[in-house]
Symmetry: D2
Subunit: 346 residues, 4 copies
């Protein structure tokens, strides 16, 4: 490869860099001194912007990264004897090296889910043991939006989960590492799939949508945020030079940048999936509703393709792979890759 440095892979949306507007905002924020730890005008403005998007009563806290956002948000809603219900495929269940258990003390109760989504009917049996002290007590339903399988919960599906949660003295948590992709896919506002859908706690992702670092923990039930400033600090996620996260969020939430980035990534996934569908040796395995494409690619081709493009095998047994697109994926990236696939399988 001539220019490997600038080539765009399909491995992950966090293999991409930073959107130009975000980088510009960082540079602009590098102006003199401001008080550290968030008591600065950048942070005040970014929080205000968040509230315009998700509701004026939301409590918004910035943290360094996504696993931190999930773990600290879950901690705010649980006690150690609680259980957190999630999909088997959830990032909190398989990709965080046990961080939720270590920091919250809770057990995760994973639900088998081929498409990454969970339904009320699957949760009900887990409540049989409520009230018996020998068993962990379910307290949070955690869903990923978009899911790790590229699928998206509709507002109606979230509402059903939220209602069920609240009817059973539980909370609805959303791991929104890709919530922008979900909102773009659904053509709804962020508020429609958070506050108005009954969500109590949200991890709002920045890094997978064009930011350098920084995520937000957003509480729609303000009582949950009562002691969160201490939880964030004790949880090692209070950034000293906070303004540089805040400035990024300000850029992302202004001028519809968050939606443009997500729409573009989603469109590239549709383009890729559409082209791959035309290749008979390849079988798309999940609905393409955000920026991920899951497909069965015969094993003999996988290694050949990986010589040129880095991507992950998701399920070795059936040779299912994952292709992720990002805000900076181009149509040329897609056509070059598809051409390679066509050549390879011929």
């Amino acid at each position: 490869m001539k220019k490997p440095k600038t080539s765009r892979s399909f491995a992950s949306d966090n293999n991409a860099g930073v959107h130009a507007d975000v980088l510009k905002a960082i540079a602009a924020a590098n102006d003199g001194h401001v008080v550290a730890y968030g008591d600065d005008p950048y942070t005040a403005r970014a929080v205000k912007l968040f509230r315009e998007h998700v509701g004026k009563d939301a409590e918004v806290y910035f943290v360094f990264g996504g696993t931190g956002a999930n773990v600290l948000g879950l901690k705010a809603g649980t006690e150690a004897h609680n259980a957190i219900i999630c999909a088997q495929t959830a990032h909190i269940n398989v990709d965080e090296c046990g961080a939720p258990e270590k920091f919250t003390g809770c057990k995760l109760l994973p639900i088998n889910s081929p498409d990454g989504k969970i339904r009320v009917d699957q949760i009900k049996p887990l409540l049989h043991e409520v009230g018996f002290e020998h068993h962990v007590q379910p307290r949070v339903i955690s869903v990923s939006q978009a899911t790790e399988m590229g699928t998206v919960y509709t507002p109606r599906e979230l509402l059903a989960l939220g209602k069920f949660a609240h009817d059973n003295d539980m909370l609805l948590h959303v791991d929104g590492a890709r919530i922008a992709n979900a909102a773009a896919s659904l053509k709804v506002k962020l508020k429609d799939i958070t506050k108005d859908a009954g969500v109590d706690i949200l991890s709002f992702g920045g890094a997978k949508n064009g930011m350098m670092y920084g995520e937000a923990v957003v509480f729609f039930d303000r009582s949950l945020a009562k002691n969160f400033k201490y939880t964030r600090k004790q949880g090692t996620h209070l950034p000293s030079k906070m303004r540089f996260i805040s400035a990024q969020f300000e850029a992302l939430l202004s001028n519809n940048l968050w939606r443009q980035n997500a729409l573009h990534a989603n469109a590239m996934a549709q383009l890729l999936a559409g082209e791959l569908k035309k290749i008979p040796q390849i079988k798309i395995t999940q609905k393409v509703e955000s920026n991920g494409v899951f497909a069965i690619v015969p094993q003999k081709y996988v290694a050949l393709l990986q010589k040129h493009y880095f991507f992950y095998v998701w399920n070795e047994e059936i040779s299912e792979v994952r292709f992720m697109t990002s805000f900076d994926t181009t149509e040329e990236d897609i056509s070059a890759f598809v051409a390679l696939v066509r050549k390879t399988v011929k």
Copy 2:
């Protein structure tokens, strides 16, 4: 104040922004896709540079922030029944909201220390209970270099602590949030006050010396790093777009930038202290060995000064305040501030 945004306060070295060379390195790293989580050329180069500074066998891991670096480094060296010995004034003891206890399970055993430094003779009595299961078992001596009181351990002092630690089956941990200031002050190499002084675990600070975010956990005893990649991930401190931390460290550790920044901040502290000493109403309370100046300022003046400059009262009882300088403090900042002080106390 006409331009409050760009005024430089003396509140904290993390109220400063980012050094221009560091910002430039970040922008340069925003070039195409690289593998996430540290498997990228920026990180490889930054680790190599670290080893040139602190020794070729060092194991180097980047994390988001300083509290995270301390807590995860300490976790790598302890079991939950251990105790960590530190100064009463240590950041881990008073400024991390109990993060070390929460994450390691250990008790901290603070030692009273007016100058922020601890000595072997103060540690010995804490070993009386070694071997008795009713008591926590001391395992780590943790020192801050430079200390929170602006003082600095000499290599000889560190060596004595390191030897005592190793003679008693303990480890020496350094919270090096300001290790650059210490090395600059002592006119030594980083290796002289880390590996060659018997240090086992080091938190190497970036943010207080011109970086935007990012710290390093450095292990000189490689066996301690055996499982650290898991501890870092479970500890929520594995940055996805790692390259942007690595690029900053590459800039900081190149062209002597780390030392230039620290020398400058230290020099500004000397200048400030020298001027304040001339004012009879003010009494410098600590040796000025790095970038902090501690001084008793009569209470009636403190509020007047704080109208113009943000800084912290360290000890209300004696009206002791702390002034911190940073890489971007200018001689004009100092003379303007000193002029205000002179005018105020007149």
Copy 3:
């Protein structure tokens, strides 16, 4: 019921009281002063007896209860980023209110197991992610002997699990709350299904086999016990008047009492199962290999029977119930209960 106080239920083997010989040993130990916390002759003798049964190199520590024994034993073999593999039905997974996660920080990886036993082939797929820092790292295989479903691992089955564990840098842990029942059922020595079967860590149960309270954590790999005295104390399981636990174990491990109690309970389970099998409306669902009998009893009969005898419904969906026998169950208890069942289903 005329004498409900003395009636023997089939709810659980810990609804029984204390064997007369154990009670006698407690009374005999109530003689003057001895040093607290285990430095007493009763404890020395009990540990010696344990070693005669399970091997002279075993490290033996007494604790208050079974959940404590499991949790502390598992803690001794793990770090927080590890995973513990067990059956879905394991006591550590469903009956300890998340105590293992809370105290060890580890994730449990449950394996579906209709008969309560797990096999090497089920464990293999869980090792796919070894070495990747995003995922918890399997470190312990934990099995219950006898299982919660009343089944028993043969020495050969344990050997296979132990070998697989050790081949993969893992440990074999046995929750032996009913290990006496297993050994009695298999007609083997305790050593045959512990040390000689490759077991590394054992919870040895007393309370379900005629003791009042007290369990033992036994290490066959002595290096795992290195810091266990601290873990036990920090884990709140160092009994002050230790001699009263030790005296009970001395009684249990003398004169074959442990085996007599277990043989009797097992025989009563066989008797009960044999009689129930003759009743066509009832279907035994698990092999009866220790002191538990699992059976499908039509739902309409369950409530009628529970008016007279307390027992647990195990699986509501299929109306499967559990009957446990204990060291003090009599043939009269069985025949009275079976007569009631016959009358009820008629």
Copy 4:
């Protein structure tokens, strides 16, 4: 020594055995089957008796041991970012191997206290940092009653601490391992130094006052007990054969046995102290208000005495030793020991 087995030492009140009435109650409880885990008539009666002593609204939970009682009670009143204020000498601070930190995640803030008691004036400075997220947030004042130094808080002193706690959104916790000795010493009811003194959480000790094992966690603020049944189980302190703890408490709280035992132990301490005071080489160092006597015994005599009697050196630097009396100490024990002391120092 002819009968070392039955000799009574002065090392600790838990070197004693079990009071005859308690042992009798245990034996009487060994009658047939009852439901495990506390749903039995013994436990119902014991809880009722507790309420007669400390107030009808108290929530009472039995656990295995004293460290467990302290740790779980403190957990019920705290979140991980809180701090627990206590005396430097507190059992939770020096004798529990860091169990409170491990289980609650909280930091302990010890206060220097020569007599084992803490005062409101010492606590006030620790509240300077309330509201700042960098610092742990004080939430519990924990006192030992009687203290580890043998002294006792008066009801008025407790009231002052309780009022201060509640005025500052904090709780008052009492480690009552020797609360019976305190009540006996003060000639008050248990209610006078618990509920009526503003105590929120109490560890009520049994083992040091004639029980075999078993302590109680008592909540006077019922909201704190809301989830305690889960905390107890997850904290590994739900005894399966609960009735045997309950039966002991029933005996202890009946017929004034708890007070008789405590009065006797206290009287023996007074007798011992009175005799030792007459020996000029020995200096009593603490007020003798419960069942402990602290005295400086010249070092050369300590070893000689320890040949015959086991007791602990409390402070090696000044050769201060501790003598504890218990419910079964006799006047003959005292006179024999004093005779030996007299002989030794001659």
